[in-house]
């Protein structure tokens, strides 16, 4: 009698590191196809609407990059912190606080708009995200409080803070009591590249962050110290790398990137601070980072994939009446299959005699 067993490979399979995400995408499509079938829709038509239609227009392409941008930026920050073995699950909250912090100067200047308003907002957004990340960093380094729990819970605090602000001090006086801020002046927004698209100059920030992150992770001494601290804490202590400083660096970089992404959102496509400032970018970016194998280039591609899922989900909702939850199901299935496929890097499946 034979049975299927998982055996550890003598050495990790190098190509499987890249093959696992592809396998996961294939399995996700298969599972999603079955689900769509059960909902009584034609899988091919659904996939076409999900993955092809959004990219068939200039507007669609612009939306694709626009959505990918914050996902990639947050995913890069997440990866940097993870190098020091700091799990920042709180990017969603840092994104929100960054958006709030950028909104304050945008509204404060009213009609008088200096040219440096946009850079000021970028700074405010970044510092806002960092400030939110400083809380778990302080608790982790001073009292050894688990950063996963703190960052996760801080998301809900950030959500409530946002809710209070857009219903109170930051609410648009002329907004019919909608929970959102007043629209930003044009000088407080990134100008779109054209009349027909919403893509704007903030994409350049993300483009610059890709090589910078690579430089930080692969070539800088700071990245090296974080890597050692994460992979072999005793070796970091032996070498005299101050671990508290590395935890701070990881969380501040991650928080800064998330906060800046929040600023790009309110100063970009939204043009104001609404209650629904984030469609779950902070969480989706974690999937982006893992799909991208925690490498900058991979994260770029992962961001494009998750962005397409957002667009496809909306298109499928509009033209097929599929529920928006489909997007979440796609995201969840992708992460699920990816983590499952990852085991094939270090293990193999074999039939063995009982």
């Amino acid at each position: 009698m034979k049975r299927l067993v998982l055996e550890r490979r003598a050495a990790p399979l190098a190509w499987m590191r890249l093959g696992a995400p592809l396998l996961a995408v294939a399995l996700t499509l298969l599972a999603a196809g079955l689900l769509v079938r059960l909902l009584g829709r034609d899988p091919w038509e659904t996939f076409t609407i999900f993955f092809v239609t959004p990219l068939s227009t200039l507007y669609g392409l612009s939306e694709w990059l626009l959505r990918a941008s914050p996902l990639i930026l947050i995913g890069l920050g997440f990866t940097v912190a993870l190098r020091a073995n700091v799990w920042n699950i709180g990017a969603e909250g840092m994104f929100v606080v960054g958006a709030v912090a950028a909104t304050v100067p945008a509204l404060a200047f009213g009609d008088d708009h200096p040219v440096w308003l946009l850079p000021l907002m970028m700074l405010a957004g970044t510092l806002g995200g960092m400030a939110w990340a400083a809380i778990p960093a302080f608790l982790k380094t001073r009292a050894n409080v688990n950063e996963i729990l703190v960052t996760l819970m801080m998301n809900y605090v950030a959500g409530l803070l946002l809710s209070y602000l857009v219903n109170g001090p930051l609410r648009d006086p002329a907004g019919f009591n909608y929970p959102q801020s007043a629209p930003f002046d044009a000088s407080a927004q990134f100008a779109p590249f054209g009349d027909a698209v919403r893509l704007n100059g903030s994409i350049l920030i993300t483009l610059a962050a890709l090589p910078l992150t690579w430089l930080l992770l692969e070539r800088s001494f700071l990245g090296y110290r974080m890597t050692v601290s994460g992979a072999a804490p005793a070796a970091a202590r032996y070498a005299g790398f101050g671990q508290a400083g590395l935890v701070w660096a990881g969380l501040l970089i991650s928080g800064g990137a998330s906060g800046l992404a929040g600023m790009m959102e309110v100063a970009g496509p939204l043009g104001q601070l609404p209650l629904s400032v984030s469609p779950g970018y902070g969480f989706a970016a974690i999937i982006v980072a893992f799909v991208g194998r925690l490498k900058p280039l991979g994260i770029g591609l992962g961001g494009l994939l998750l962005s397409l899922l957002y667009l496809g989900g909306e298109a499928a909702q509009m033209s097929l009446g599929l529920p928006t939850a489909m997007t979440r199901i796609f995201q969840g299935a992708l992460l699920f299959f990816l983590l499952g496929a990852d085991i094939l890097i270090t293990h193999r499946l074999r039939w063995r005699d009982r």
């Binding site: 992979a231 072999a232 070796a235 202590r237 070498a239 005299g240």
Partner: protein
């Protein structure tokens, strides 16, 4: 004649194109203590893993009490009565001694009864051990006791020991040997892997010598000289150490003055007023069974733990309050006993691991100069003849001895004013150990002050100009090695004032 307990016939194992085992045959009779001798990389570990069922042989036959058997996994080996004491321990840090042992014992989970049994066994074999202590607080030597006790729980028929004496004090080795002889007298076969030829000659009834994956000879160690055994193992007579007299002059280079520290954690050791003084050009050995404050002393001297500033002095300046980085900047280098995970990050390359302590000229403007790192690593690899595929090899891919050569070479390349080493040649094969020891002597004669903390008396007597003994947090007065005899050091290690 009865059939052997274990017989191996032409066992072969290939890793890719590399023949780790090439037609190895040997047999162990019931009640026999059989030595398996060989350098690192000779194929001993592979062979033992095959017997233990951890890996499968590509070719050959295993006979157990005369019957061909297929040992598919370690559990099958357990069922036959084969127990193995590994050189690298497999213990859960957070669990207690009794809990760790309970994992290996089948039947009802009764920690209380088991603790009593452990206490009895450990007393009987002279290996004192509190069953309720968590493993994370144990020293290397104590962890090995847990491993040995664990393997004795199932009343084994064949016990495999991988370098078991490497971390034991002389009297503990004597007790271990008594225990092994008693075990053998009860009919248990024992496969004993060691580099210590004198011990093999004192203990073993037969020996199989491996070199390059092949059997190069069988011998009766009781009437074969150590030099002859070494020659068979290495393939040539090992060179003798050159140990010119120390020229320790001038001011003290490195000093501890009344260094005291409370225990860290409920099971940490206390240090009580430890004092020594070390000059450039000499080697001071600190002997003692681990768990007597060695870990604490190393942390306090290296800077991972801080003390009052005037308790540790470097070049006439108080440094007790400084951290690791500041002390390193002043010329202190350190080689801890844990090679993987502390002295190196296992999943980083040798070039990256070089950067761990040698970032001086290799980082510019916050960026790492990769090329220079690889060059420096290649230099260390060449100078210490480290067997590896090059600077890009992962630290975990190297054998213990080769990794240790790399670590010692890395710290030596810093031209340290003071070098502290803990167990520098534990589990390292003869040729590599000799090489490391000679390098240390040469370094000290070139002017460095060297402090060696070790449990291995052979090593300490070969290396040291002066020796002191650490027992229960007290350090004895350092005395010239030539004026000391082993018996006296052994007594001091055991706590009897001689």
């Amino acid at each position: 004649m009865t059939s052997p307990r274990l017989e191996l016939r032409s066992i072969s194992k290939l890793y890719g194109s590399f023949r780790a085992n090439d037609g190895i045959s040997l047999s162990v009779a019931p009640g026999e203590i059989h030595a398996l001798l060989g350098e690192n990389g000779a194929g001993k570990s592979t062979l033992m893993k095959i017997v233990d069922g951890a890996i499968a042989a590509d070719d050959g036959e295993i006979l157990w009490d005369g019957q061909p058997v297929d040992i598919a996994n370690p559990a099958a080996a357990r069922r036959l009565g084969i127990e193995m004491v590994h050189q690298h321990f497999a213990l859960f840090e957070t669990a207690t001694v009794a809990e760790n042992i309970a994992l290996a014992v089948s039947g009802k989970y009764d920690l209380k009864a088991l603790s009593t049994r452990i206490a009895d066994l450990s007393r009987r074999y002279g290996m004192p051990l509190d069953p309720a202590r968590p493993v994370r607080d144990l020293s290397v030597g104590e962890r090995q006791r847990v491993e040995i006790l664990r393997s004795l729980m199932g009343a084994p028929k064949l016990l495999i020991l991988d370098e078991p004496t490497a971390v034991l004090a002389p009297d503990a080795i004597g007790k271990l040997f008594d225990m092994l002889r008693r075990l053998a007298a009860d009919g248990c076969g024992i496969l004993f892997v060691s580099h210590k030829l004198e011990e093999i000659r004192a203990l073993c009834h037969g020996a199989t010598i491996l070199r390059g994956g092949k059997v190069v000879g069988h011998a009766d160690p009781r009437d074969t000289s150590a030099a002859e055994l070494a020659r068979m193992m290495v393939g040539a007579a090992p060179p003798a150490l050159s140990h010119p007299a120390a020229i320790a002059e001038g001011k003290p280079r490195f000093e501890a003055i009344g260094l005291s520290a409370p225990a860290e954690g409920p099971f940490g050791a206390v240090l009580e007023s430890v004092s020594f003084s070390l000059k450039g050009g000499e080697i001071l050995g600190i002997a003692g069974v681990s768990g007597n404050g060695q870990g604490e002393l190393l942390a306090l001297l290296g800077g991972e733990r801080r003390s009052a500033s005037d308790m540790v002095w470097l070049d006439g300046e108080p440094v007790g309050h400084l951290g690791v980085a500041s002390r390193r900047a002043r010329g202190l280098a350190l080689v801890p006993e844990e090679r993987l995970g502390r002295a190196t990050a296992p999943d980083l390359s040798l070039a990256d691991n070089l950067l761990l302590t040698s970032h001086g000229g290799l980082v510019r403007g916050g960026l790492i100069e990769r090329g220079k790192c690889a060059d420096s690593a290649a230099e260390v690899i060449a100078r210490l003849s480290v067997a590896c595929s090059g600077p890009a090899a992962l630290a975990r891919s190297l054998s213990g001895g080769n990794l240790q050569k790399f670590i010692v070479g890395r710290e030596m390349a810093l031209a340290p004013r003071v070098l502290i080493l803990s167990q520098p040649t534990w589990g390292v094969d003869i040729a590599a150990a000799l090489f490391i020891r000679q390098s240390l002597i040469d370094l000290s004669r070139a002017g460095a002050a060297i402090l060696v903390i070790s449990e291995d008396l052979d090593e300490l007597f070969e290396l040291s100009d002066r020796i002191a003994v650490l027992h229960r947090g007290h350090l004895s007065k350092a005395e010239p090695a030539t004026a000391l005899d082993r018996g006296r050091v052994g007594l001091l290690m055991g706590g009897s004032a001689a």
